[in-house]
Symmetry: C2
Subunit: 357 residues, 2 copies
């Protein structure tokens, strides 16, 4: 099942390319070892590997190490099942029971699609939710149902300074938004309100890559590009100056308060992803075929704005869709360090992943 | 009623400071002259002057000149009244009838508050809507009702390049979001997805002020800080690189398609603000007193992130609330050019504004 990889890991051992199905199987086995029932292990494993497939390795199987720590510390209850705490017309609260966030978000996504089909517009909030994964996955599913999906969550552990500030107040508070596209993929926007997501700083630190300028202050409040400065008292910056910072503030307050998770800077635990999903049934306003044909015209105009020399303008979600197609075909490159962590975790939880060893 | 102003206009005549009530009266008279019935003239006049009061002069009475042009060209029907085209649980369409956008948005705001009180979450879209004004006004009203309000609109006339592009595809597509705050004002976020709003480029051009770097390309696709380069084939840039550009894309597609206004780059007229409001009843999830007390803790943490030297971190909407208090007390400074336009318009539409002459 191993395939040769293009990139060396830089850590003595080579990166290896694996098929997604194999990674899912091994990931599910490790999650099962942590105590996840088979169906939840499958669901979380698929969600993590999907992040690798679309190119967001920071949200992929690299997370297993962190999850294992949470399970050991009792933050994550591996056999907890999310349930609908209450549901009224237009609004509902899903209780994640501090189980797998991906299971909560999948339930919430299925629920909001049903609710929106009947009431046109709905909001579903997830309480007691561990790491929810990649929000783009859920809004993409909502768009697959012919709806507009919007999602945001606040993230436990303040690590971002508000605009003009130098201290940690906000989480990296992601925001995602999707609608059907004109072609083979939906329009999917999904971004951290920090200039770069915390997970990407960790990846940069592991590979010794500098962080882009304007993303990080060191402990003295001075601009830095060294990933390790974040660990030694530094702070991430919000994207887009007062605009991105303001988005992060609203996300922290709305998602933190509606979910009961509280904004990271107020919460005593600084834990969990208070998550809000909002959906609108597009078909109430516009026929799907009209939506699709106007979207196609819009896409053509977008491409025509590209400069004569240089890369083409991309639609939101286009890079992810292309990466997914390529990685489903060619496999996912897993750096040696990530593979080693997975093998070590499997040993710790007494499951076998001989395919990776 | 005239009060001395601090700033000279730089155009030969001094700026003058006027009380808001006087400006509203004169503005309503001019709007009446354009053909607005008295109640609509009052409503639009108050909305415009409120923009001046909160410090967004680009959305204030300076707009009257543009509106007069639209009335003359038949784009804006001054006595058209918005009406609810259809309403179902959770969703509704307001038909603005190409009248005053502020009247449509005020109706849509009142409607969404009623709908959200009964169904918890709602979306109201405005079709055939002229310049809607400042979105922050409407989400602020929704927050006054104890709800989360979110609004966005696409703007007629492509003037912004998508990330990586060099040609006009997108409007300045603003986004606004508000919830109740802990103190005397709501948390109100309201921004253009262009680095700077087109109205602010016009103001900068009038006063000869350079545009901030990173906001504008000239006709050759080169970075520029000269406001006049926008008129000679230049293009504005979206804020926050691919993130702000992606927000603008989603706004253009969703607001353009749900309202029937179409994205600016697809529309033949390139006219109107397709507008979407979304609201959630916060009280279904959290008691208002809890919301308020946690918000107060959050605000304190935000302020504590300020650097030892330099300005204090601000909450979204705080600057606007402070400016409004000051201008309600001390009056609004109107540059000589804007005052002259108002006096000229009054003469053209045969109404008297002796207080400004």
């Amino acid at each position: 099942m191993r395939m040769p990889a293009d990139e060396p890991s830089g850590a003595g051992q080579p990166s290896v390319r694996y098929r997604a199905e194999l990674l899912q199987t091994c990931t599910a086995r490790v999650l099962g070892g942590m105590g996840a029932p088979p169906d939840l292990a499958q669901l979380v494993g698929q969600s993590l590997v999907l992040s690798n497939l679309v190119g967001h390795d920071s949200h992929g199987i690299i997370r297993l190490l962190e999850y294992a720590g949470w399970v050991r510390q009792g933050h994550l209850v591996p056999d907890a099942r999310p349930h609908v705490a209450w549901q009224e017309t237009g609004t509902s609260l899903v209780d994640g029971g501090w189980g797998w966030g991906q299971a909560s978000a999948t339930l919430a996504t299925q629920l909001i699609i049903r609710m929106t089909r009947s009431s046109g517009c709905a909001a579903v909030v997830i309480a007691r939710c561990n790491h929810v994964g990649r929000l783009g996955e859920y809004v993409n599913s909502i768009a697959d149902a012919g709806m507009m999906g919007l999602a945001f969550c606040n993230t436990g552990g303040a690590v971002v300074a508000p605009y003009g500030g130098v201290r940690r107040v906000l989480g990296t508070n992601p925001f995602a938004w999707a609608v059907p596209g004109s072609g083979s993929h939906n329009l999917v926007l999904d971004f951290s309100t920090a200039v770069i997501a915390a997970g990407k700083v960790v990846l940069a630190g592991l590979s010794g890559t500098p962080i882009e300028p304007g993303a990080l202050l060191d402990a003295q409040g001075q601009p830095s590009t060294r990933a390790e400065d974040l660990d030694s008292g530094g702070v991430l910056l919000a994207f887009g100056r007062h605009k991105g910072s303001g988005l992060s503030v609203l996300i922290d307050v709305v998602a933190g308060l509606l979910s009961g998770t509280l904004p990271a800077c107020v919460s005593e635990s600084g834990f969990g992803n208070g998550t809000v999903l909002i959906a609108i049934d597009l078909a109430r306003f516009v026929a799907p075929e009209n939506f699709r044909s106007v979207s196609a015209e819009f896409a053509a105009k977008m491409y025509s704005a590209s400069p004569a020399i240089g890369p083409t303008v991309l639609l939101p979600g286009e890079l992810e869709a292309a990466t997914e197609a390529e990685r489903r075909r060619d496999g996912v490159v897993i750096p040696a360090g990530v593979r080693r962590n997975l093998v070590d975790l499997a040993a710790q939880f007494d499951v076998a992943v001989p395919e990776l060893a």
